[in-house]
């Protein structure tokens, strides 16, 4: 720092993230990967939030836990993320760049330094308590971890339920804890942290349906909430994934979902839409049916809000393939059938006819609401809330609050699903980085490693450690016998046993033993490599041994746990696993992780709102940016939009942003630019561009790409568009209103879903329901006498947009549904434009004249066919770019170093486009902020001598990595290789080997296992 540091504002390179759900985790990882120290403050005893409770997730059907647990492990092992669990923020002072935050840790009564998470205490604790995690469907103990994969897996004692705390006797846990981790004197702790910015991601509460008893929750046992149903579906849940009714454990056949429970109800619950429940109900119905084909699901709904990317396809499949029944009708009350405990639902069907239908089980699709203490929480951080007790955020940056330096993300900001949460987690990281960029790297811990010992000339000296894991392993497996046996194996120079191998003191002991015995290869027979391998590999590195000379034998999960009733067999199998591990470790060779330099320059393709913001986000952090726009001017589609539905002025915002990019010293704007060539890999791309009007050629070297090529309005050929001047699109209507006002408009009709949600384009365009309402309200404001009719299929005013739908109705705008098969008819004769449609409620056909017929034309992707072929990028059938992973990597493209944002990814609002562009900057910064990228050593390599140039690897690699080089043989770029091993397995000439998984490194295990079998 300079001399006048005392007068200069302090910028701290540390950030606090409050919350531990997927949103918070993403923000933490992006920040920590970009040179910031992160403190995560999480209220529960484990991180994970809502997502860990889910079974599968829409629309991919991926297992939620499988997706989130690697991310949790990443957070847990990241040396620049400090997790504070059972923690809450007490007070905040200071200003952006330099906050002082006081944190209170609740007493855990278990010393996290000592506890290894072995779980013995939990097993033996006599006190059963309804499990919060399992939603009361099963029990946990008074000493517990939230769920099996909890992180940290340090147990915690629930004082309210502990027999010792309540009655003064028990202490069973203390007796059985071999780590001596129980601490009855724990009183919690308060400490202060200094951070530059604060990110709030505490999520939302779920609506409690017990407060409205007509739906029978808490009264009729076979009425469950959707979150209970997630647990019921989960293979690790209370019923092991068998769908049963809680009341009598019978298998239900007819299951009803009731939508909007606690949502869209300003009379008895919350007025907003919770945005996710239409989709999760669909998912639950599909998954339930997959579990048990006799299940016959019905979803009772008002509007199906499948507004996300490809969601309508998912719903269509649910209808057509899985035969899920969707019934547009709300349920007034759930009655129970005496004797059977079945549930009777009465509803008015599409013809208004009343039906009584009996179901075996009812699932309530409960929505989200702010936590009960939302006001106090906001007060602690000094941020303002809106009328609905969500944080007040500006429309052009949804992660900012009323207090500079304090940001929000995830569903806390407003209801949303996982991909949007992840996206916003990155977005908030991007915003934070822009604030703190000058302090980057000031507080992070850098790993200092001793030089690696050269072992090429050493004989093979293997050390084996067998773990008791408290009594987890030792209570079944004869650990001493396994240890003895290990000592007899070839090359083993040391074998020992530990109570807890992963405990810090054991790790230190291992270091000493490695030195003492000159060990150069290590085997740990303990638990799962998935969770523990990185820690042991770190230990090896810190002793100067190549970390790839390591192997684990999972004798806990694969022996003691799963053969606990056959201790002899478990011990025998443990020996075999150790034998296999020893055989393999002997065959391993040191691997070096290659470092490649990163060109700290970004290329942004597309100069709309998303591209502009992405460019600014990176440039403000000091990175150089080249912004390419194919048109003459910047701004994209947003230049045709006057205001947002909230009334924010889009035009002047866009102009301001354009002004900022064009004058930014770090940004070079190239208009009329066309990409013609592209090569390279993450950190090192080269793009060839023709820049008009002269079409001169430029070559740009850059480290990352951000795609922001946008989308356009569909040009209808339906409903007399183009044949009658009075028929216009919503954008044209807003322009019409801007120019001519609404004085002459007596009656206006709008038709929704034009060019969307049909056979040609099955997707929802997401923005047009709110666009119609925005224009309708505008007309009402200009001319309250205008009568407006909106013909819709499902009104998709998700989240807090529902307020505007309510406002529109209250202003007298009339809404009628229509079906795809039965669209409105539009006629133009004798000067009148008439629209004929059917009113579903009365079953009558109606006719209305219109001065203007506005068509809510959908959104179609920009033509990126050429671009995608040059950059080798995948697109959806409708031409939107396809992200690497729909749920967890919504901003990344499959090719590393390329990111996507805005409507190039899928239809979205301006605020959402901005959000994703900030996310793209954060993701890009995880690359740009590093001078070098470390590549995994587990990559494939070709032996050019053996290669027969057959091209099989070229064709089989899922990432198109192998190339035939100038020498005419296959070459694999390790910077691009993902290490899957497909090519190695396919190569007929056996010319390819996958590091760490070479054929003999695998087959030696087979041999070792089957030793003596013949």
């Amino acid at each position: 720092m300079t001399e006048n540091a005392s007068t200069k504002k302090i910028m701290r390179g540390a950030v606090m993230v409050v919350g531990g759900g997927i949103g918070a985790m993403q923000a933490c990882l992006d920040l920590a990967d970009s040179g910031f120290k992160v403190h995560m403050v999480q209220k529960d005893s484990s991180i994970g939030g809502t997502m860990v409770m889910l079974d599968k997730t829409f629309p991919t059907g991926d297992c939620s836990m499988c997706m989130i647990s690697p991310k949790m492990v990443d957070v847990g092992k990241h040396r620049n993320i400090d997790m504070h669990t059972l923690a809450e923020v007490v007070s905040v002072s200071g200003e952006p760049g330099d906050f002082t935050v006081k944190v209170r840790l609740k007493p855990r009564y278990v010393d996290p330094e000592k506890c290894t998470g072995c779980g013995t205490c939990e097993e033996k604790c006599p006190k059963k308590v309804d499990s919060e995690f399992e939603q009361g469907l099963s029990v946990r103990k008074a000493i517990f971890s939230l769920f099996p994969q909890a992180l940290p897996n340090t147990r915690a004692i629930d004082r309210q339920n502990c027999i010792y705390f309540q009655k003064g006797r028990c202490k069973v846990c203390e007796k059985v804890c071999k780590a001596d981790a129980i601490n009855w004197e724990d009183t919690g702790e308060e400490f202060e942290l200094n951070v530059g910015a604060i990110i709030l991601s505490p999520g939302l509460n779920r609506y409690d349906p017990e407060v409205r008893q007509e739906l029978g929750f808490g009264r009729w046992p076979n009425v469950v909430t959707s979150i209970q149903f997630e647990r019921i579906l989960s293979a690790s849940g209370p019923y092991q994934g068998t769908v049963m009714r809680p009341g009598d454990k019978k298998h239900p056949e007819k299951i009803a979902w009731i939508q909007c429970v606690g949502s869209r109800d300003s009379n008895n619950a919350n007025p907003w839409c919770s945005s996710v429940c239409c989709m999760y109900a669909t998912k639950q119905a599909v998954v339930a049916k997959e579990h048990d084909s006799s299940i016959d699901p019905t979803i009772f709904y008002m509007d199906i809000r499948a507004f996300g990317k490809d969601f309508d396809k998912y719903v269509n499949r649910a209808k057509d393939v899985h035969k899920i029944r969707y019934q547009r009708a709300m349920i007034s009350a759930v009655r129970e059938e005496p004797g059977t405990s079945n549930l009777i639902l009465r509803y008015a069907d599409e013809f208004g006819e009343l039906k009584d239908e009996i179901f075996d089980m009812v699932v309530l699709s409960i929505g989200f609401e702010p936590h009960a203490d939302a006001e106090e929480f906001a007060k602690i951080f000094g941020i303002a809330l809106n009328d609905h007790r969500f944080p007040a955020t500006p429309p052009f940056n949804p992660v900012e609050t009323t207090r500079p330096g304090v940001y929000v993300t995830g569903i806390y900001q407003g209801p949303k699903d996982i991909p949007e949460t992840v996206m916003q987690g990155s977005a908030v990281a991007g915003t934070t980085m822009a604030l703190l960029s000058e302090a980057r790297g000031t507080e992070v811990v850098v790993k200092e490693l001793p030089p690696q010992r050269e072992i090429a000339d050493e004989e093979i000296r293997i050390g084996v450690f067998v773990c008791h894991c408290g009594i987890n392993i030792a209570s079944v497996v004869d650990v001493a016998a396994v240890k003895e046996y290990a000592g007899t194996l070839p090359h083993v120079v040391y074998s020992g046993q530990n109570l807890f191998t992963c405990a810090q003191d054991s790790m230190n002991k291992i270091k000493d033993i490695i030195q003492e015995h000159g060990i150069n290869r290590l085997v740990v027979a303990a638990c799962s490599p998935k969770t523990h391998e990185p820690a042991f590999m770190d230990t090896m590195e810190s002793c100067g041994i190549n970390k790839y000379l390591f192997e684990m034998a999972n004798i806990r999960n694969q022996c003691s746990w799963t053969h606990s009733k056959e201790p002899d067999k478990a011990t025998e199998k443990s020996k075999e696993l150790v034998r296999m591990a020893v055989a393999r470790v002997a065959k391993l060779t040191p691997l070096q992780e290659k470092k490649i330099p990163v060109i700290q320059r970004a290329l942004v393709v597309g100069g709309g709102i998303a591209g502009i913001n992405a460019a600014l986000g990176l440039a403000d952090q000091g990175f150089e940016v080249i912004l390419l726009e194919k048109e003459e001017s910047l701004g994209g589609l947003a230049t045709r939009i006057n205001t947002t539905i909230e009334g924010a002025d889009v035009k002047s915002y866009v102009n301001d942003q354009i002004e900022k990019v064009t004058s930014h010293p770090n940004i070079q704007v190239l208009t009329q630019a066309l990409i013609v060539g592209f090569s390279g890999f993450k950190g090192n791309f080269t793009t060839e561009v023709l820049v008009g009007p002269g079409m001169y050629e430029r070559k740009i070297d850059h480290g990352v790409v951000i795609l922001a090529t946008g989308a356009t309005e569909y040009r209808p050929d339906e409903f007399l568009y183009g044949r009658d001047d009075r028929v216009m699109t919503q954008i044209e209507l807003s322009e019409h209103l801007q120019e001519k006002g609404a004085e002459s408009l007596n009656q206006v009709v709008m038709i929704q879903c034009v060019g969307s949600r049909n056979d040609e384009n099955p997707n929802c365009s997401r923005v047009c329901c709110q666009a119609a309402i925005k224009n309708a309200l505008k007309i009402k404001q200009m001319n309250p006498k205008t009568k407006i009719i909106i013909l819709y299929r499902d009104m998709r005013t998700y989240g807090l947009l529902e307020d505007y739908y309510a406002e529109a109705r209250n202003k007298g705008i009339l809404f009628f549904t229509y079906e795809l098969e039965n669209p409105p008819e539009v006629n133009s004769s004798e000067g009148d434009l008439t629209i004929t449609f059917k009113d579903r409620v009365l079953g009558r056909s109606l006719k209305a004249k219109a001065d203007v017929l506005a068509l809510s034309a959908g959104m179609v992707a920009e033509d990126t066919e050429e671009l995608s072929s040059i950059l080798k990028l995948a697109r959806t059938a409708e031409g939107f770019f396809m992200e690497a992973h729909v749920k967890l990597r919504p901003v990344d493209m499959a090719t590393e170093g390329i990111f996507v944002c805005g409507t190039a990814h899928s239809p979205k609002l301006i605020s959402e486009s901005i959000s994703q562009s900030l996310a793209a900057t954060a993701r890009a910064t995880t690359f740009l902020s590093q001078s070098h990228l470390t590549l995994s050593a587990v990559t494939a390599r070709v032996d050019p001598e053996k290669c027969a140039s057959c091209l099989i690897c070229v064709r089989s690699c899922p990432y198109e990595v192998p190339k035939i080089n100038a020498e005419g043989v296959s070459e694999i770029d390790e910077a691009l290789c993902h290490g899957c091993g497909v090519c190695a397995a396919e190569c007929p000439a056996k010319a390819i080997d996958l590091n760490w998984y070479e054929d003999d490194q695998i087959m030696c295990k087979v041999d070792a296992l089957l030793e003596g079998a013949l």
Binding site: T60, Q558, H978, G979, G981, L994, A1013
Partner: protein
Amino acid sequence: MRLQYPANVKIIRLPCTGKIDLIHILRAFEKGADGVYVVGCLEGGCHYIGGNLRARKRVEQARKILDLTGIGGERVQMYNLSASDGPLFVQYAIEMNEKILELGPNPIKLKKDAAA
């Protein structure tokens, strides 16, 4: 969950089932294994896009070869499940085990025994 499955099932870890090679499978039989099964992610859910589909093909190949050599193709199986689905893993383990018990020991072993 700690569900129980037969102890004679032993697992060899690979980065992706796409890495499984015909020779790996055949080697196991050559060395006297009675059965081999490959457990991959659900189809469509491969972390590396399509590795499990390739694995399935190789398992098919292995079956053919084993049939030809008289060891019996049924001794190789491919299963797909999601990583969180413990009960299904157990179900498959039991299923495979029962099948192998029914088929009896690897004929190579029998030949060896007979020769001895």
